[in-house]
């Protein structure tokens, strides 16, 4: 069987509020090797300066809908990592 090179997925990652302060940016494009999950991107963020302060399982939204960290990613997805909500 021919071996296929794993495709690279590019996703846009958004950070807000305290998480943006912690990592020092509020938006970044990351390329990960597919197939990949939300958790894989979180691991990438944790390797960045300040990223060790993210909680083990932060709230995440994929394309405007909340998801768990095992949700699979597609190229072009928008993944938002959400600090504790404080509306109202």
């Amino acid at each position: 069987m021919p071996s296929t090179a794993a495709p690279a997925l590019t996703v846009r990652v958004l950070l807000f509020a305290s998480y943006a302060d912690t990592l020092g940016f509020d938006s970044v494009e990351l390329s990960v090797t597919g197939p990949a999950t939300v958790g894989d991107v979180l691991d990438r963020l944790r390797a960045l300066p300040g990223g060790e302060r993210l909680p083990p399982k932060p709230l995440c939204a994929l394309n405007l809908t909340q998801v768990r960290s095992d949700a699979p990613l597609s190229g072009g997805d928008e993944l938002a990592v959400l600090p504790p909500l404080a509306g109202g």
């Binding site: 302060d21 909680p55 399982k57 405007l64 960290s69 959400l82 600090p83 504790p84 404080a86």
Partner: protein, 173 residues
Amino acid sequence: MTVYLTESPLDLGALLASVQSPERGAITCFLGTVRNHHGGRKVLRLEYSAYRPMVEAECARIVAEAESRWQVAIALRHRIGRLEIGEAAVAVVATSAHRDEAFVACRHVIEELKRRVPIWKREVYADGTVEWVGAKGSEAAGQEHSGAAGQRGSKGQAELADGRTTFGAWQRS
């Protein structure tokens, strides 16, 4: 199409007018205004920020859910930006032919907003410090919640003593 976020002062009268009708005699409102204290500290003002497109999507879902579950019409608006003490950050209006439904739906919408809508606030204290609300040491706060989050009922996530976030209703929908 309704817009749920605004940077302008909230206009309760306009929201009321948008859902009043001669068939719906019962009107309930909730206003959340900026308090001058939090956790024993004197607050000078608040700064709200939001993940805007998701706020719009999530608010639309909350309103649609309430309007399908009860015989009500809902108006909902959240303000972001800098707010002074006493100014309203959020307004909910529910109108119905029956006051029971108007009360229950209004309460439901504000609880769901607090639990599901991505808005954050930074408190500016009298001692000069500035802090994101709910983000104490951010290591423990804001975790994805696995387990029986949906059983917590109407307890607002912002009020959970341990600072963790529940998304029970969201995960159900």
